[in-house]
């Protein structure tokens, strides 16, 4: 069995504080019951489940958090937020990770790269919501 030593310094604490500030949630409220992951309709498409991502945020593992696709697969359907026994707005935590990326001058979707055909075909409700979630 191999062990991985985790660093828990200023950088990690800053990351946690930033996520808590953006989301307005207390990340340590989570006691890892896993109800959010169990009920998440997108769990099969995530490389880390929602509760795993929350655990990584709790221990400040910024790089691993940002490398996951979990927060980009989340579509804010809010099933997890409604069901959380600790009343955490879990979807807000996912939004906070997304916003953390976007505020660092990062764009998940580059609008100019979408083909004109697709823009004509797609309903505006899809485009507006996508751009609001995936561009800074």
């Amino acid at each position: 069995m191999s062990y991985e030593y985790l660093k828990f310094g200023k950088e990690e604490k800053d990351f946690i504080a930033k996520i808590e500030e953006i989301s307005g949630q207390n990340i340590y409220s989570c006691y890892q019951c896993g109800k959010c992951s169990a009920g998440c309709v997108f769990s099969d498409k995530m490389d880390r489940t929602v509760s795993q991502l929350i655990h990584l945020i709790q221990i400040g593992q910024k790089e691993k958090v940002l490398k996951s696709n979990t927060h980009w697969v989340c579509s804010s359907c809010l099933t997890c937020s409604v069901r959380c026994p600790r009343d955490i707005d879990v979807a807000a935590l996912m939004e906070a990770v997304r916003e953390y990326c976007l505020r660092e001058d990062y764009e998940k979707i580059i609008i100019s790269e979408i083909s004109k055909e697709a823009l004509d075909k797609l309903p505006n409700i899809a485009l507006v919501s996508n751009f609001r979630k995936k561009t800074g």
């Binding site: 500030e21 953006i22 989301s23 307005g24 309709v41 997108f42 498409k45 980009w72 697969v73 579509s75 804010s76 359907c77 809010l78 099933t79 937020s81 409604v82 707005d89 979807a91 807000a92 996912m94 939004e95 906070a96 916003e99 998940k108 979707i109 979408i114 697709a118 797609l122 309903p123 505006n124 409700i125 899809a126 485009l127 507006v128 919501s129 996508n130 609001r132 979630k133 995936k134």
Partner: protein
């Protein structure tokens, strides 16, 4: 007749014209007329879940303040703005609740609205048209107006996420809703219950991660079909687009060759109440519901007689 200030939202003017036209036609029949706001803007479609972004909260408040102005010109109108789109409904409602609790946010937003001589005083209520049907009109009155009961249609209600989530914006119980079910039954159709009634369709991922949407839609549609449904009823233009369009793609690329049509709840009401078929805009649908309706004798009957 009670008149309601009605906020359409962007999609009802483009992809979901049938949703709007049928809703307005039906609303006149049941004495709860929807009158469109003269000036409105996009509500932003999705609510921001961040705690510190005020910019994304301005648009919904602007809608609410404009609706307040609109009400002064209406007859017997309660302080309510009515939406048809479930995403508009949840966005407006959440922000409305937030500013009621947080005077500071409201002041900051009102400061931004000052330029256009608008101000919001937290005195509006957001209602979805389904709530008006349930609470103000009542299902009995709806079934009285039915002239063409939807016999033969086996309809599975699909709520999508935004009608039932989050806690402060839900229109019905989040795990056991019955508003669409009761409506479908009052129109004389057969009800088919599917466990995936609020299984998210993938929403805005349709733009850049279509694989997510297609796998979600496959599960939703198969669950309904396995239980005998021959149509789905929805209240959200994005759910409707995703399910409709992905089924067509599925019929082309996979073994799932028998798609089922997707209706808006107002379209079913319009058919049951004998409104002209034209206002349904079935041409905008990817899976045309007309063959099914003709087979069941629900439309086009008058011409043959």
């Amino acid at each position: 007749m009670v008149q309601y200030s009605y906020f359409p939202g962007c999609n009802l003017k483009t992809n979901a014209k049938g949703f709007e036209e049928t809703a307005i036609a039906v609303s006149k029949k049941i004495n709860a007329e929807l009158v469109e706001m003269p000036i409105w803007n996009c509500c932003g479609t999705v609510h921001t879940l961040t705690s510190d972004n005020i910019m994304k909260r301005i648009a919904p408040i602007r809608v609410l303040s404009r609706s307040k102005k609109h009400i002064e010109t209406l007859k017997e109108s309660p302080n309510q703005v009515v939406t048809l789109c479930s995403m508009c409904n949840s966005t407006l409602r959440i922000v409305n609740n937030e500013v009621r609790k947080n005077q500071d946010t409201l002041d900051k937003i009102n400061y931004q609205l000052e330029e256009d001589e608008e101000v919001y005083e937290t005195d509006m209520e957001v209602k979805h048209f389904l709530e008006i049907l349930r609470d103000s009109v009542g299902y009995e009155k709806i079934s009285e107006k039915v002239v063409n009961p939807l016999e033969g249609l086996k309809i599975s209600p699909y709520y999508g996420c935004m009608l039932l989530h989050p806690e402060e914006a839900k229109i019905d119980d989040e795990e056991m809703p019955d508003v669409l079910e009761s409506l479908v039954e009052s129109l004389g159709a057969e009800l088919v219950m599917s466990p995936l009634f609020k299984f998210c369709c993938g929403s805005y991922h349709i733009v850049d991660q279509e694989y997510i949407v297609s796998s979600q839609v496959e599960k939703i549609v198969e669950a309904a079909k396995r239980r005998g449904a021959n149509a789905l009823v929805v209240a959200c233009p994005l759910c409707a687009y995703n399910i409709d369009q992905q089924q067509k793609a599925m019929a082309k690329n996979t073994v799932r060759k028998s798609p089922i049509p997707v209706f808006y709840f107002t379209q079913l009401m319009a058919i049951a109440m004998g409104e002209p078929v034209k206002i349904n805009h079935f041409k905008d649908h990817f899976i045309n519901p007309e063959p099914l309706l003709k087979d069941l004798g629900l439309i086009g009957r008058k011409k043959t007689k």
